[in-house]
């Protein structure tokens, strides 16, 4: 039985405390922001724009939900700026600047309020990015685990308990998620523009006909009920399957418990596919309420799935180095790395499919999403493609490298960082716009959730037998040997 070592426990608790302190500081800092700070930030941004940028002054409007006609107009200009960026920077910059001036002084104040909201949003967004990433990858570990059960996979039986342990993280992050979403609904933060007051009121000057048209889906009550429903469904499955899995160890009832666990997993996977798509519309796409993409659910799924597999590989490699995983060999690591490689390509495929269709059609209401990312977030937006595609492809394409922990670790680190940036670029442009940076709020949130992850995962792993003893495919998993690689410390004579 694995013992959650005191050193690791201290380390995880230290991360949680460090993250908590940093977050408390960031939230206090965010709440102290005033209109003066906002005006200051606008001034700084326009100085930047004069200094050779393009379209920067225009894009904060693009993210603003309540100025639709204006948003569409600037989108076109900003889009023109994107296309001709390399040729005529000066002209497009002039256009964008002119359009923001044309709206006069009363608009300036409104704009300042908007920027103020963005500044106040920053600690919330930083927390939300790390929270969503942590929740999402834990959820996908649970899904991958359910897939193993439904497909009655042989090779992965010796690491089923690793996946189970990781899903212990689901409950705490779900509770935090509910609290954050409730705070949004109660106007404590301004993450979701459609929750602003007056958006659904035709009398109000903030009335937004497009969002009003979506009010069947986008209303606070429905949003909260759905969010709670998703989280409850996932957590109930996690609770039941963990109980069933431990029962399976000693059941000895002709696989009756095993089959019950199988049935539960089938139901979960069905519900998961529905709730995952809806979750991505509500929690991520809802940040940009005018914008829509039909494959967004898949795209989010790919991001979280490849991160989930990387995390499984990391925890497996760590536990193996502590000799806590009997029966594991290089072939299991090799298979996990193959999944990391394969789903990196899958992510790229979906990312590009979404981008290319919108780029080709060039419809302003669709291009807003990418305009905001191309102008304010060019480096992280393009950098993540290198981190999530080019790097894993080149590093993990070699069959021998996939079973070496060191290479899997390097590749996995870049994949995890890359997909954090991916979620960052999904969330930040809509919530903080041009006011983004990477500093104490973001780092603290990451520390907090890594600490929480380590604590929940390893304490859960220490609570059960490291191997699912009652699983009928255990032998197959222990003897698993991918023919093309040699296990460490084995000659070719040991094949088969």
């Amino acid at each position: 039985m694995y013992q959650f070592s005191g050193r690791l426990k201290t380390f995880s608790l230290a991360l949680i405390v460090l993250g908590f302190v940093g977050l408390a500081y960031s939230f206090y800092n965010g709440s102290q922001k005033t209109l003066e700070d906002a005006k200051h930030a606008i001034e700084a941004a326009s100085n930047d724009a004069h200094g050779g940028g393009h379209g920067e002054a225009a894009t904060p409007h693009a993210a603003e939900a309540s100025h639709d006609s204006h948003a569409v107009k600037t989108d076109k200009e900003a889009h023109a700026a994107m296309i001709h960026a390399s040729e005529d920077k000066d002209t497009s910059h002039g256009d964008a600047h002119a359009s923001s001036e044309a709206h006069g002084t009363s608009h300036d104040d409104e704009h300042a309020t908007h920027v103020l909201h963005q500044l106040q949003n920053r600690p919330w967004s930083a927390f939300y990015v790390a929270l969503f990433f942590s929740l999402g990858l834990t959820l996908l570990v649970l899904t991958f685990y359910a897939i193993q059960r439904v497909a009655q996979v042989g090779w992965s039986v010796v690491i089923l308990r690793v996946m189970e342990a990781i899903t212990a993280n689901l409950l705490p992050v779900s509770i935090i998620m509910i609290l954050v979403l409730a705070a949004s609904v109660m106007h404590i933060n301004h993450l979701f523009p459609w929750m602003a007051e007056g958006v659904f009121d035709p009398e109000s000057d903030k009335y937004d006909a497009i969002i009003d048209g979506k009010s069947i889906w986008m209303n606070a009550t429905g949003f909260m009920l759905r969010s709670i429903a998703y989280l409850v469904i996932w957590n109930v499955y996690r609770f039941l399957i963990r109980k069933g899995s431990i029962k399976e160890d000693t059941a000895n009832d002709g696989n009756k418990t095993y089959k019950k666990n199988y049935n539960m997993s089938v139901i979960f996977l069905f519900l998961f596919m529905i709730t995952e798509s809806m979750m991505s519309w509500d929690w991520i796409m809802g940040l940009d309420p005018h914008w829509f993409s039909t494959l967004f659910g898949w795209y989010v799924l790919a991001t979280l799935l490849v991160s989930a597999l990387t995390v499984i590989a990391f925890v497996t490699i760590y536990l193996r180095s502590k000799n806590a995983l009997p029966g594991i060999n290089d072939s299991h690591i090799h298979d996990l790395a193959k999944f990391m490689f394969g789903f990196s390509v899958f992510w790229t495929y979906l990312w590009f499919a979404q981008f290319m269709l919108i780029w080709y059609a060039d419809i302003p209401e669709e291009t807003t999403y990418f305009v905001a990312r191309f102008t304010e977030y060019k480096l992280p937006f393009l950098g993540m493609v290198v981190m999530n595609f080019v790097f894993p492809i080149l590093l993990l394409i070699n069959s021998d490298f996939k079973s070496r922990p060191w290479f899997v670790f390097i590749g996995g680190t870049v994949i995890l960082l890359g997909h954090y940036v991916d979620v960052f670029v999904m969330v930040m442009p809509s919530t903080v716009g041009a006011q983004w940076s990477f500093g104490i709020p973001e780092l603290s949130a990451i520390f907090f959730f890594i600490g929480l992850f380590i604590y929940t995962t390893f304490s859960a792993f220490a609570k059960a037998n490291p191997i699912t003893k009652g699983n009928p495919f255990l032998k197959e998993s222990e003897h698993f040997h991918y023919y093309n690689i040699e296990h460490k410390g084995e000659g070719s004579g040991d094949h088969h």
């Binding site: 001709h84 780029w359 080709y360 060039d362 023919y483 088969h496």
Partner: protein, 175 residues
């Protein structure tokens, strides 16, 4: 001539064959060839064959395909007959790159797949209308055949092979 004589040992199970190959290798006999109705995983390692370099050629062919696609799209859509792609008349390959990605992907796969198959055929010395090289048609059905050259050690080899579970052992003259 004595050296052109070979022993053909037949097996009916891939696991038995694999163990036999290991036994023969352990007794330091050279195995000329093994004929199988289907690929047997681990056989190449047991026979001591060098790892295949086909994967490296596939990678190179893929790069060639990618380069060809870039050249082709640039020539067709930008140089030879400049086209306004998706209402974005930039006439620059880089700015229209997203439209060319599917082509680049397909040609990478096309080149890698086809050239790899052709390389495999050439390396295996197979081409259309070539007569089959396998010494016994049963190796295309349910038998495995191990071919070992004889160097005045016919009796020794025969007794060794019969211990490994061979169902039939023939000594034949190789033409």
């Amino acid at each position: 001539m004595e050296s052109s004589k070979v022993i053909h040992a037949f097996y009916t199970d891939d696991e038995v064959l694999l163990d036999a190959v290991k036994t023969v290798k352990a007794a330091h006999h050279h195995i000329e060839e093994v004929f199988c109705p289907f690929p047997v995983h681990g056989l190449d390692k047991a026979m001591g064959l060098a790892p295949t370099r086909l994967a490296i050629t596939a990678f190179l062919y893929g790069i060639i395909g990618l380069a060809f696609a870039i050249w082709m799209t640039n020539y067709m859509m930008i140089d030879d007959w400049p086209q306004d792609i998706g209402g974005k008349p930039s006439f620059s390959w880089v700015e229209n790159m997203p439209a060319f990605v599917p082509i680049m992907f397909e040609l990478t796969v096309f080149f890698a797949a086809h050239l790899m198959v052709i390389t495999f055929y050439m390396r295996s010395r197979i081409w259309p209308f070539k007569d089959a090289e396998n010494p016994d048609p049963r190796t295309t059905d349910d038998h495995f055949l191990m071919e070992i050259p004889v160097h005045n050690n016919e009796a020794e080899l025969t007794s060794l092979l019969s211990e490994t579970g061979a169902v039939e052992i023939n000594v034949v003259d190789k033409h």
